[in-house]
């Protein structure tokens, strides 16, 4: 971190916080069985990003993030509507919204690229993420928004747990599952739109899915899963950003995702709960024990006869 410029340090800090927030929201999404929902929503944010740009005529991050949030929420509502009032299943509904919104976004992107000329630089970077293109103001905004998500998840931790694992009981206690659902969706969309500039619309979902799945290999407790997932997400964000600064014009998103994937492979192999190595050792010990007992039994039989 020492050799980096001042701006790069800020960017690094922002991807760290982003990864942490994404790791926490990813755990909630994992237990709501909505991992792929985040993929659909991040694709659905593209028309909003481009629309926000077209509205202002230049790159203004707050407006673009607001646009992204609006179009992702419209996507979420449409998915819900299609699923609840027709016989099309949820996965198909997500696929439809994902591809159609992305197609619309690409159409608009082509328009805007033509209309704005040179000043559009940086719009393409929303597809794969380009953390290096962020300036200090963007970074500060990202940090504030991501902190809001951390706060929301932290303050009502007990309530979230109830909401995820026993919604009927939560309702019985007088909690509004409707409001909880709305807040959850809001926080999820917030993480996605904040991450778009650093990670890009296509791979943003990975930062929500992979850390949570990796953390699952280490623990049974939800609390520790959230903590670990936050650590993994933050770590992947930082490592990926660091690596992508070594090449000129390298996109940030894919490197962050690969860093997360490496953490996943390590968890898969060495995870304390169901890791492959742990399982193999356990199986070996079992087999040995079994063999020894049969040997003892056999020798006892032989002595007896």
């Amino acid at each position: 971190m020492i050799g980096l410029s001042h701006n790069a340090q800020w960017v690094l800090l922002s991807t760290l916080i982003l990864g942490t927030a994404a790791g926490i929201m990813g755990c909630l999404a994992y237990w709501k069985r909505q991992s792929l929902m985040s993929d659909a929503l991040s694709h659905a944010a593209l028309p909003g990003v481009v629309g926000g740009f077209a509205l202002m005529g230049f790159k203004n991050l707050p407006v673009m993030i607001a646009g992204a949030a609006v179009s992702a929420l419209i996507g979420a509502l449409l998915i819900h509507w299609i699923r609840s009032s027709s016989r099309v299943k949820e996965d198909a509904a997500m696929g439809i919204i994902l591809s159609v919104f992305f197609g619309l976004g690409i159409m608009m992107l082509t328009f805007v690229n033509r209309m704005a000329g040179a000043s559009q630089s940086g719009l393409d970077s929303f597809i794969f993420g380009q953390a290096a293109s962020m300036v200090r103001k963007d970074v500060l905004m990202m940090i504030v928004l991501a902190s809001i998500v951390l706060l929301v998840a932290g303050i009502a931790f007990k309530e979230w747990k109830l909401f995820l694992f026993d919604p009927a009981f939560a309702k019985g206690l007088g909690m509004s599952t409707r409001w909880m659902g709305a807040i959850y969706m809001g926080a999820l969309v917030l993480v996605i739109v904040v991450g778009i500039q650093a990670v890009g619309v296509i791979l943003m979902a990975a930062l929500l899915i992979i850390p949570a799945v990796s953390a699952r290999y280490w623990t049974q407790s939800f609390k520790w899963m959230v903590v670990l997932s936050a650590l993994f997400g933050g770590g992947a964000g930082m490592i990926g950003t660091l690596i992508s600064t070594y090449g000129k014009g390298w996109p940030t998103g894919p490197f962050i995702v690969i860093a997360a994937a490496c953490l996943f492979v390590v968890s898969l192999a060495f995870g304390a709960r169901k890791g492959l190595v742990v399982l193999a050792v356990q199986q070996y010990a079992q087999r040995k024990k079994l063999r020894r007992t049969t040997f003892v039994q056999q020798s006892a039989l032989e002595r007896g006869s």
């Binding site: 016989r87 696929g95 159609v100 197609g103 328009f111 014009g249 390298w250 996109p251």
Partner: protein, 291 residues
Amino acid sequence: MSYAGWILLTASLVGLSCGFIGALLILRRMAMMADAISHTVLLGIVVAYLVTRELSGVHMLLGAIAAGLLTSVLVQWFHSRGVQQEASIGVVFTSLFAIGVVLIATKVGNAHLDVKHTLMGEITFIPWEKIELPWLGAIPEAVFILSLVLIVVVAVILAFYKEWKITSFDPALAASLGIPVVLMHYVFMSLVSVTTVAAFDAVGAIMVVAMLITPAAAAYLWTDRLAVMLGLSGLFGVVSAIAGYYVAVWLDTSISGSMAFATGIVFMISFLGSPKHGIVAKFIRPAVPSA
């Protein structure tokens, strides 16, 4: 044939083959698997290119089939190790896709293969990349490959029509009748990969997802019969491909994006107006007894 004619033919071929495959995808509830495969195919293409150093049709098809099968095997494996199905799809395809993008960004990076091209496709270049064939004369390579894929898809679906039907609707019964359900699953995944990669060059990764899922989901709202659904799905695919092309020409925008959007319009019309399962129909006659 004229320039626009070739483009329309290419797009219609994509619409037809994706529509047929998509109908089975929807019924097997594997829509998101198609999304995953359409992303990982990129890795297959990049690796095939790095190994052979040429962008020929056959190598790309083989690479794509390998990537598609790898994706479904990995998803299945993680799922059997206790990861949720959804989450394991998410982990596998994003990781493989990221590797593909990084390989392109660091190793390949040239005019033939760049990330934007693979995401959005370049249907406008299709009519110029022609090959000579006996009897037919010079036709665009993409049209040739797509026709071949369409023939294979139709042949495989027709040859095992009964088996597809039974494995899609009642896999347990199919298994008890002695139909190799697992083998059919992987054959189907290979078909999805082949269709995806053939359509990939023409319309890009995201458009393939739109073409695979949306027309089939729209057809699903119109009928309860598999044969009709297959036909409608192909028809919707062709209609949205052609409509999308004309809209794109009219507005002078991305052709593949506009085709994806057109499939969305077709779905919206079906969603609202289909006589059986549409929203409007439900409002008009809410009191019809269901049996």
